[in-house]
Symmetry: C2
Subunit: 364 residues, 2 copies
């Protein structure tokens, strides 16, 4: 039923539907369910040690023979910036006081490394079908080592220029991540937040610019969005938020409840949690941080400042400091298993394409 | 060939393609060409006196019997804000100095009124098929007077909430204006710039929320975008930037040259020209104004401060102060007549829909 088969052929999957490898929220159970349903399951692995990563891959392989995708952040290592730290402490001091936090933690207690040589070696051992990157690509020889080992490499582009750069690097497929997407934007270099290109504009322009299959991501909530992405020229799609409402998602009850009442315009881009722009449910903290244009500490150092806030707020059930990540179509979410969701999406896409098809050949 | 015919039937046109009634850039010649090609031509009329409006309508009617759309801004009347004026003067003083401007003009020399009773009476006289509004709707009795006279009323929504509000007001069709769109965002109340919902997310959610036909706008550059909007559930589309490259567009040579080298990510939302967020080609002035979060004078009073800058810059060929409005798909533009563009778009849409069609009925 799919209008393009290049991505299906490349990944050796039945449906060109990728479950976004959300760091923290995706789980081995989700990747298993999606893989067994004919899509490509994924796991966000940046916050795992190599041992945890190996254990999780074993869990996935116990559940499925289907291919899967492991995702890694490839941010620049954070630079120590005492002046920025001082300014950041000033900006959040009232929130620390409000939540009864007395001590600022040490910065640079980064919750994740960038992509390292030991990670590469671990992956050459584990041999997943697909490794995906976010924020660009690691060194060229690392990409080549993965590809030489038969691992497919993909990464995200948020502009045509980034897509061209990825294409020139010889990777196997490119995710065109639109403005609508929840979670961290894949922009290679952090810049002003409001430059994001929406999917309707980004997808066809990326398709025109690159040679490899394009996977559309961002704001795709049901089969209509998948069909639209295909019509725009994409060979596949990646959905994240849609899977957050599945029982396999690793999110708290409060996160799940907030997601249930989400709307089209309840999110905002913010770098105030991690140091890099991410689309998250808007709240008091995000609004307050947006009042000033001062830069935050580099990703992921900013987590050292924001984590105590979100944790203290959660413990005291204080609203306004949540880091709940979802995109602009989360209000279309259905609560069902990941396997059922894949089947639903396939059927809806078929219907959406058929509903607009059957147009006669040029009649005049 | 069109998957939905409700909008075609309502507007009594051949193709559900609206040419955006761009204030300043659209012309009677463009509306004539689009109407004769089977689309709905439009004219942005907010900056015209009633006499000019009548003359332009006569020009359109001399060229075509097809229906057309007259567009009006329905902003709140600007409020005098001396403190904001003072702060704005401070912010732009260096630019005034750079361009050799010595005197700040009087604010509140607004280049356009909001929708007035005398405008309504003029329209009841002129009887266009369609009147469209931007920034909301005028008073309910004005809307009713237009509809009673057989004039169709449409307006733009940038969120589901705005769309519901328009639907409840009983208007005839709703434009879902995505984040990608060039020109002024139709948001009813001015708020922070970066809340915009991308079309892939906005269109299906608006379609689900309202009863009347939905017209998708923003980031649609060719037939692929039109087909995608249809697949998302829209009954029609509105394109603005695509028509800017046509000879019928009223833009300067410099504007046209800049447009020819546009890219997916060369625009930015800014309120620094008019007082309301508009998507325009990014430049030095826009960047500088974005460095501070202070509010600008109300729309359209801010023009009193920015117009001298853009004019002086144009006269001295100084780059960095242009107010060039286009959306995120302008790089897809083709240089051809408006009539040819409509024919091209129709043919491309047919191809895009057919290219993804022919999927068999459910096989399992």
């Amino acid at each position: 039923m799919w209008p393009r088969t290049d991505l299906i052929d490349l990944l050796q999957i039945e449906h060109p539907l990728l479950q976004a490898p959300m760091g923290g929220e995706s789980t081995p159970a989700m990747a298993v369910a999606v893989g067994n349903a004919g899509g490509l399951g994924g796991l966000g692995c940046s916050y795992m040690s190599n041992d945890e990563l190996s254990d999780n891959v074993a869990l996935i392989r116990r559940g499925t023979n289907a291919p899967f995708n492991l995702n890694f952040f490839v941010h620049e290592p954070p630079v120590e910036k005492p002046e920025v730290y001082a300014r950041t402490r000033e900006r959040i001091a009232t929130f620390y006081a409000e939540l009864g936090l007395n001590d600022f933690p040490q910065p640079l207690q980064a919750p994740c490394d960038t992509f390292t040589q030991s990670r590469l070696e671990c992956l050459l051992d584990l041999r997943p079908r697909v490794v995906s990157f976010h924020f660009g690509l690691p060194e060229a020889d690392m990409v080549q080592a993965l590809q030489t080992a038969g691992i497919l490499v993909i990464s995200s582009a948020t502009t045509v220029a980034e897509a061209r750069q990825l294409d020139a690097a010889g990777i196997d497929a490119i995710i065109a991540q639109g403005w609508e997407a929840g979670g961290h934007r894949g922009t290679f270099h952090v810049s002003n937040d409001d430059y994001g290109v929406g999917g309707l504009a980004l997808i066809p322009q990326v398709v025109d610019a690159v040679e490899v299959p394009v996977i559309a991501a961002g704001g795709i909530g049901d089969g209509r969005g998948i069909a639209a992405a295909m019509v725009l020229g994409a060979s596949g799609v990646q959905l994240g938020s849609a899977f957050l409402s599945c029982p396999e998602a690793n999110i708290s009850d409060a996160y799940r409840a907030a997601l249930q009442s989400s709307s089209d315009d309840d999110t905002r881009l913010t770098a105030a949690f991690s140091g890099r722009p991410a689309r998250a449910m808007n709240n008091r903290y995000i609004e307050a941080m947006a009042q000033s244009q001062h830069p935050f500490p580099d990703y992921p150092t900013m987590y050292s400042f924001s984590d105590p806030l979100s944790q203290a707020a959660e413990q005291s059930a204080t609203a306004g400091f949540e880091f709940y990540l979802w995109g602009q179509s989360a209000a279309l979410n259905r609560e069902c298993s990941s396997a059922r969701l894949v089947a639903l999406l396939v059927e809806e896409t078929r219907q959406a394409l058929n509903g607009c098809a059957g147009t006669p050949q040029r009649s005049t």
